[in-house]
């Protein structure tokens, strides 16, 4: 081995702590790319493959009742490739062990042959047989949550009649990769299942023999989707068509896509932070090493080593750190990616979902970190290469100090000698200090962004479930009921208040823009459901006109006072004009609110309700649930508290996992910065600190001098980190906005405090590591050697 390589090996061993901390930052960078981007790619591949294999539809349309003969008409429309129709209904499930009402979404499938579109993928059991009238296939998550196996029976109340069904198979469907019960936002797998059964069984039960209430179709490659939607709506209007909608609005796809978008965006931002820190650390550590080795560099050059050989020697330190980080990061990224995708697999049923990062991605992650980190190293090594040998022989000019700004302003007296030393050291190298601070600030920012997200989601859920949905139970009726149903409901066990609502699907038009919405007709003096804006303030239900979500109004290009054309997609299907009486800033959905009375006046009905909200005495809730199970007219029973519970269960797990990663990554960055900066400071000032020890300063007092500078830098980093985190979160919430929700920008004081405390803890931990080194300083040597 050449002596230069020997030097390399020995010094690498000496610098192992620093090399390791840099390697970890590089590893975190590579890991974040491989994990996040790899998971994103895998999800997208699984999604596309699944959609392709199962022939996932492009458009859907619901109708009240259309004759089967219309299928041929739909097939004949220009731009339509394949069409399938079906019968689908919600029914109550009678599950023995549960007082809580459970529901099944029943969907007809052809007996024997497979559906031509939206095909099922059986995971266990078999497909339904042609003569098996009571056979059903259930979705996998429901089966898992309920412990159902092929061969088990389940009882459902269909159209008022209880019926025992035989489970023959367990399956997944692209329409239910994310299965959410009606009226909810989160899966409640133990209370909501998807049931596929033969048309021969479902048709008669729901009075749909020879008819369908849902059609779905694929488009030819050259089709104009908007034009097809328009012609479908024209065809189905006489049969109660509720308006066709594209895949982008399909609930399961919508949520999956939102999740994917979020992944793509965060996956693009996070690696940059790590890469930036790695570049800085390599520049810092190598730069300092080169300064302390001026003499050696001079000797090497004097003996005839070329600039390239000297440069290569110092670059090797960086290369070792980056390669080490590269391998650790790639290995860690592959493991983490697998776990990450595993978590997704619990919520999104994508059969082919497997974490499989492409070799190109691994190569890209590795080489981008390599190039990034080495660019920091090259900047430092350039200084060694450019150093003329004669100059390198001379010792580096002594550090020059002068009173800093604070002292010139007269604050110096307050600081004492220790404070002055710390301050002057920081002021002497302002750029290095700033970059250190920036590095730590980035780790504060990583945490702040993460915690902001939790705050936002919590705020949103609190608003939704505690301020907007104040009912104990929300009912959805199978068919509209007369308003007098409220008196029947008031008579049920424990019910202390009943409010009804009328919900109407409609198409809103303003100028050339239009949007399909659901108009909510609310009680004017309602207490259980109110219009609440994003700040938690109530907007009264208008006596006339409609209140729109601001996002919706913006999409339509309309504002307060404008008149919208309303085309009702249910009931008499009349077209009317309504005035926007106000806008509301809300987070969820694209809402349109009216008073029940003005909605009735507009659609020409009187006294019709499609659902109700109940306030219930807590002790009577079980009795009430039992009674509700017996009422066939009720298609759905939702409880905000249970929805919140389901959401929180999911969120808590998510938060713990995400917080673990965030804290881990942020710690790597802050330890990398603080430890390296303190180690360099120790090697630069070792002689000075040892002199103080000789003069009788205790270890703690010397440690304060050394680490005080780092403490100052870390403290300065915190507000900077908050600022960066705030800005990035602001940008991120903007980027993540979509049709189903807007993430509110909420910053709890706790978030600031927590991110600061966590980073200070890691700074203290790195300080303690360096402090151990400080204890090993040989105070006798200092009397002997000159710098």
């Amino acid at each position: 081995m050449s002596s230069l390589n020997m030097k390399l090996l020995r010094e690498l061993w000496k610098l192992k702590g620093q090399i390791l901390s840099i390697a970890l930052v590089v590893a975190a960078g590579i890991m974040s790319i491989i994990t996040m981007r790899g998971a994103y790619d895998s999800l997208v591949i699984a999604q596309q493959e699944y959609y392709r294999e199962s022939r996932f539809a492009d458009l859907w349309v619901s109708v009240v009742r259309a004759p089967q003969s219309l299928r041929a008409t739909l097939e004949g429309l220009q731009g339509v490739d394949a069409v399938d129709t079906r019968v689908t209904f919600l029914a109550t499930l009678d599950l023995d062990d549960s007082n809580v009402p459970a529901h099944g979404r029943f969907i007809s499938v052809p007996a024997m042959e497979r559906p031509i579109l939206n095909d099922l993928r059986l995971t266990r059991g078999r497909y339904i047989s042609s003569d098996g009238v009571d056979e059903v296939i259930i979705n996998e998550n429901f089966a898992l949550a309920r412990g159902f196996n092929p061969g088990d029976k389940v009882r459902a109340v269909m159209n008022g009649r209880a019926r025992d069904l035989n489970i023959v198979g367990i399956a997944n469907s692209p329409e239910h990769t994310y299965a959410v019960p009606p009226g909810s936002l989160y899966p409640e797998d133990d209370r909501y299942g998807v049931f596929w059964a033969s048309r021969r069984m479902l048709g008669p039960v729901f009075n749909m023999d020879g008819a369908f209430n849902e059609a779905f179709l694929t488009l030819t490659p050259d089709a104009n989707a908007d034009a097809v939607i328009e012609s479908i709506d024209d065809v189905l209007r006489p049969y109660g068509g509720l308006g066709a909608y594209p895949r982008a609005d399909q609930p399961s796809h919508l949520i999956l896509q939102a999740e994917l978008d979020q992944n793509r965006i965060t996956g693009a931002i996070v690696p940059f932070i790590f890469l930036g820190v790695a570049i800085f650390l390599l520049y810092l550590v190598l730069g300092r090493m080169i300064s302390t080795q001026r003499g050696e560099i001079a000797v090497l050059k004097a003996f005839g080593y070329t600039d390239w050989e000297v440069g290569r020697h110092f670059l090797m330190y960086a290369l070792v750190a980056v390669l080490l980080g590269g391998f650790v990061g790639t290995g860690g990224g592959l493991l983490l990616g697998d776990a990450y995708v595993g978590v997704y697999g619990q919520y999104f049923k994508l059969p082919g979902l497997e974490y499989q990062p492409s070799p190109q991605l691994l190569l890209l992650a590795f080489s981008s970190c390599m190039v990034g980190a080495l660019s920091g190293a090259i900047a430092a090594v350039r200084r060694a290469v450019l150093l003329p040998p004669a100059e390198a022989m001379r010792p580096e000019a002594p550090a020059r100090f002068k009173p800093g700004l604070l002292e010139r302003l007269g604050f110096g007296k307050l600081l004492g000698a220790t404070g002055q030393m710390i301050l002057r050291n920081v002021e002497r190298k302002p750029i290095q200090g700033f970059l250190s601070s920036l590095g730590i600030a980035l780790s504060v920012a990583i945490l702040t962004i993460g915690f902001f997200m939790f705050d936002s989601v919590n705020f949103m859920m609190d608003l939704q479930f505690r301020k907007i949905q104040r009912e104990d139970v929300a009912l959805v009726f199978n068919e509209v009921q007369p308003e007098s149903v409220r008196y029947d409901l008031a008579g049920l066990s424990g019910v202390s208040r009943v409010e009804t609502q009328r919900v109407m699907p409609a198409r809103l038009r303003f100028g050339h823009r239009e949007d399909e919405v659901v108009i909510q007709g609310m009680e004017q003096q309602g207490e259980l459901r109110r219009i609440i804006n994003s700040a938690g303030m109530e907007t009264p239900v208008p006596t006339s006109g409609a209140i729109l979500s601001r996002t919706l109004a913006e999409q339509l290009g309309a504002g307060t006072g404008d008149e919208l054309i309303v085309e009702f997609l249910e009931g008499k299907r009349n077209t009317e004009v309504v005035t926007i009486s106000g806008l509301v800033d809300d987070f969820l959905g694209m809402s349109v609110y009216m008073s029940k009375e003005s909605l009735w006046a507009l659609n020409g009905e009187s006294g019709i309700a499609s659902g109700a909200f109940l306030a219930v005495d807590e002790s009577a809730i079980d009795d009430l649930n039992q009674q509700l199970k017996q009422i066939p007219a009720i298609a759905g029973v939702a409880s905000p508290s249970r929805m919140l519970q389901a959401f929180q269960d999911q969120l808590t797990e998510g938060i713990l996992i995400a917080a673990g990663f965030l804290i881990g990554f942020a710690s790597i960055v802050s330890i990398g910065v603080v430890y390296n900066a303190a180690r360099i400071s120790l090697s630069e000032r070792g002689r000075e600190l040892a002199s103080l020890r000789v003069m009788g300063f205790h270890r703690n007092e010397v440690a304060v001098l050394l680490l005080g500078e780092q403490a100052f830098i870390a403290l300065a980093a915190i507000p900077l980190g908050w600022l960066i985190g705030y800005g990035m979160t602001y940008a991120l919430t903007g980027a993540l906005q979509n049709d189903i929700y807007r993430i509110p920008f909420v910053a709890e004081p706790r978030t600031y405090l927590l991110s600061a405390v966590l980073i200070l803890c890691t700074a203290v931990a790195s300080g303690l590591l360096v402090r151990k080194k400080l204890n090993q300083i040989d105070i006798v040597e200092v009397l002997k050697t000159k710098e």
Binding site: R400, K402, L692
Partner: protein, 247 residues
């Protein structure tokens, strides 16, 4: 050991303030054991200036390190008044250095980020009964350079700041390791005259380590070391004047 327990001995001029008995120090360097000190009996007497002479490797720095509480002996005793330094733990040794010993180094070892006055104040801040920093700097003739940083001072000036820093705490013992080693003859003499003056005016017990035999004439006592042993101990009847010595 608690700080309060080390009490500066109250002694008459010329009584032993610090003494060593059968002091040994061994290092192991790989497989070889180096005997740096062999049964050294040595003393520093109150108010006296002792010059330790010897070639490189003679053991004089090792002796000074042990006496100054920077290093521990392998065997033997170091008595400071009634206290045995060899029984001190790390913290007690630090307190001993903090309150009782002043050090002057060959390379000054000033804190580059502090001015001359602040370098002195660094020590007076933690001493129980110090001089004012200005007073100490005046004593070494640097009253006009008190607000300068080390990078703005010459070598001789830096060493005088180091002396001011060492004496400002009014130490019982002032230990100087090659204080003129990094200076030219002219500046070296200036530094020695400051040490001489401080010793006379403050009666601080002083030990100077040097390989420069000419400096021996300045001391009350000259101790010559060789191969880890005291080869010779000479008591000067009179101390020479700094201006009269030549090297």
């Amino acid at each position: 050991m608690a700080e309060a327990k080390i009490i500066a001995p109250q002694l008459q001029q010329g009584a032993a303030i610090l003494s060593t008995q059968r002091l040994c120090k061994e290092y192991s360097m790989g497989e070889i054991t180096v005997h740096a000190l062999k049964d050294v009996d040595f003393e520093l007497r109150k108010g006296e200036m002792t010059v330790l002479l010897g070639a490189s490797g003679s053991g004089k720095s090792t002796l000074l390190n042990i006496v100054g509480g920077l290093d521990r002996a392998s065997s033997g005793q170091v008595l400071y008044g009634d206290e045995d330094l060899s029984l001190f733990d790390d913290k007690a040794l630090t307190n001993y250095r903090r309150h009782h010993v002043g050090f002057v180094f060959q390379f000054y070892n000033l804190i580059s980020s502090l001015t001359a006055r602040e370098n002195v104040a660094l020590v007076t801040d933690i001493a129980p009964d110090p001089m004012l920093p200005d007073e100490a700097l005046e004593l070494v003739g640097l009253q006009d350079r008190m607000n300068h940083f080390p990078s703005q001072l010459s070598g001789g000036e830096q060493q005088r700041v180091a002396i001011a820093r060492a004496i400002a705490k009014r130490p019982s013992i002032l230990l100087c390791d090659e204080p003129t080693g990094a200076l030219d003859a002219e500046t070296g003499k200036l530094v020695l005259s400051v040490l001489d003056q401080v010793n006379c005016e403050t009666q601080t017990t002083t030990a100077i380590i040097t390989h420069n035999a000419a400096i021996g004439a300045l001391g009350d006592v000259v101790v010559r070391m060789s191969s880890g042993e005291i080869a010779e101990r000479i008591v000067n009847s009179t101390r020479a004047n700094v201006d009269d010595i030549e090297w």
